[in-house]
């Protein structure tokens, strides 16, 4: 187990290293003189020299990376030339919003997917199963940016149940109206996740229910409900974990899209905003942060796998 974990940690560090190189090289994708592109052609020579020094652009590329990564490791992701805020402070303001979105949406998604999957798996090919599988298949063809547009039209404009774009209130200021504004974006994120969780869990439950230990449990006279929750659902926790891992990319994409449309000042909103303001250092910093978080989350999920099923570590 310890050896397995050590191996995984080495791989994690390797991946993070590659991620950092990729993000570092972004600046070098800029056409022409990066100081002109970043600051604009009209900025003065002093600012240009400051930027030159900050990025170390006059030094050889290996040294540039060294300077950059040393700063990053000390938590210094640079300072925006547009807003004059440090990238770190942008992150500090936006990350809580994403956290709140993810938590609420995943609670909704699991709360809907688990009962639906159980009900469908009880009678495969029954009426309910047919409806849920067809609906979830159709929803695979509904990208988050379509769901959010339709939901805003219906919930915010037609029936005025939830507030529309631009009505974000910080959680600490007014928790009630904050939750009220967060429900609509969370529902959109949840919609995408429900499909992933439901489809995996249903398939898993159907195959588990055909196992011999289920037949055994039935023949002991245990109730269906008990068998479902205690015997069938437990081995499926692995699939749910796998689904959660698969879903991370979708969550990031979904969060970006809903934040953009509803003007929630989360990471996605900050990223798109920085792009529109040609604020390259912020784009670079936010990209690095999101990539590192996703890579680490995948690592944690991998690690949880080995706790739930120790056989994986032995292979």
């Amino acid at each position: 187990m310890a050896k397995f974990l050590a191996k995984r940690l080495v791989a994690l560090v390797g991946i993070l290293f590659v991620v950092s190189i990729g993000t570092f090289l972004l600046i070098h994708l800029l056409p022409g003189d990066p100081t002109v592109t970043i600051l604009g052609p009209s900025d003065n020579a002093h600012n240009r020299a400051v930027l030159m020094q900050q990025l170390g652009l006059d030094k050889p590329i290996f040294e540039q990376y060294g300077i950059w990564i040393a700063n990053v490791l000390q938590g210094n992701l640079g300072q925006s030339f547009v807003t004059h805020q440090t990238v770190m402070s942008t992150l500090r303001h936006s990350v809580p919003i994403d956290l709140e979105l993810v938590v609420i949406s995943q609670v909704i998604a699991l709360g809907a997917a688990i009962p639906l999957a159980i009900a469908s798996a009880k009678r495969p090919n029954g009426l309910l199963d047919k409806i849920t599988t067809t609906t979830s298949f159709a929803m695979l063809a509904l990208p988050p940016f379509i769901i959010i547009v339709v939901m805003v039209m219906f919930f915010a404009i037609d029936i005025h149940v939830f507030p529309g774009p631009g009505s974000y209130v910080p959680l600490m200021e007014d928790p009630v109206s904050n939750l009220h504004t967060m429900i609509l974006p969370s529902l959109v994120l949840a919609a995408g996740s429900v499909v992933v969780y439901f489809r995996l869990l249903r398939g898993d439950l159907i195959s588990t229910l055909q196992e011999e230990f289920i037949v055994m449990a039935r023949s002991k006279g245990l109730s269906d409900r008990y068998i479902m929750w205690r015997h069938a659902l437990r081995p499926s926790s692995l699939s749910l974990l796998a689904a959660a891992g698969l879903n991370i990319g979708g969550l990031v994409a979904g969060a970006f899209v809903v934040e953009y449309l509803l003007q929630l000042p989360g990471l996605g909103y900050a990223l798109v905003n920085s792009i529109q303001q040609v604020d390259y250092l912020s784009v670079q910093g936010i990209t690095l942060f999101v990539a590192v978080v996703v890579v680490c989350l995948n690592f944690v999920i991998d690690f949880l796998f080995t706790i739930v099923d120790p056989r994986i570590a032995r292979d």
Binding site: G22, P31, I146, V150, G249, F256, T287
Partner: protein, 296 residues
Amino acid sequence: MTDVLEHTFHGEDPLEELVAPKAHRKPKLNWVFWVFLSWIGIVIVTSVFAGLLGLDDPTNQNFEAINQGPTASHILGTDDLGRDILSRIIYGARVSLVVGFGAMIFAMAIGGTLGMVAAYRRGPVDNLVSAASYVMLAFPALVAVIAIVSFWGHEIWKITLIIGIASTPLVYRVVRASTLSYATRDFVTAAKAQGAKDSRILVRELLPNILPAVISFFLIGVASVIILEGALAFLGLSVDAPTPSWGNMINESRTYLSDNPWLALFPSLAMFLFLISLNIVGDTLRSFLDVQEGKL
């Protein structure tokens, strides 16, 4: 694959099972499949030959007919600049089609070739490329694509190339896995024993066997690339205005959600129908050609 081995060990002819299809499983392509396949065909043909259909110019502004719902002269209505929505949807399909098919063809060419060679040869090449594919898969595709596009520029060929590269590791894994299940089969050993060159074994023996799995994966891959490009366009990071694309039409409709819902609904519907057609055709083909999911 293990089934076949088991049969061999029990003295049965594995070919019998491969040649004679099982009696209880006679897959048929139903009408749903043909309807959605035709829809894909219609979308491709109309957008390729859009110039011959006598449509309005998709960038032609008409300030006397702004934000109209469906009318006789504009079947799907007009947008905030008085441009014909039907025409913009048909021309806009080109962006989704070019990026979707272009990126997947790129990913298939690179990732598919690498996957076949890695699975056939194994050894250090396989280890190296597989490790690289894991590293690339660890990076969230949308974030990587957004970052590169915003630094490098968003011409359509750049977007196609970037999404193509981002899709390569997934294609590699799928092709590698399905090649692996054939690479140690008897017919490959037989071909080797007869002195066939590696290139011949890859192209003539292995490729035809993995093709069914690859084709259905290709279609579903095109759908997910179109979603990715749509998300980029929705965030305003794909092809520049006034070139229409489904994603940027949905993006432009944001401001008019309460005044003119048609503006958002029609391109969304176009995208949904095309995506679900790709998914249904891909999925039906997969079960029709009986690809074993467990092997992927």
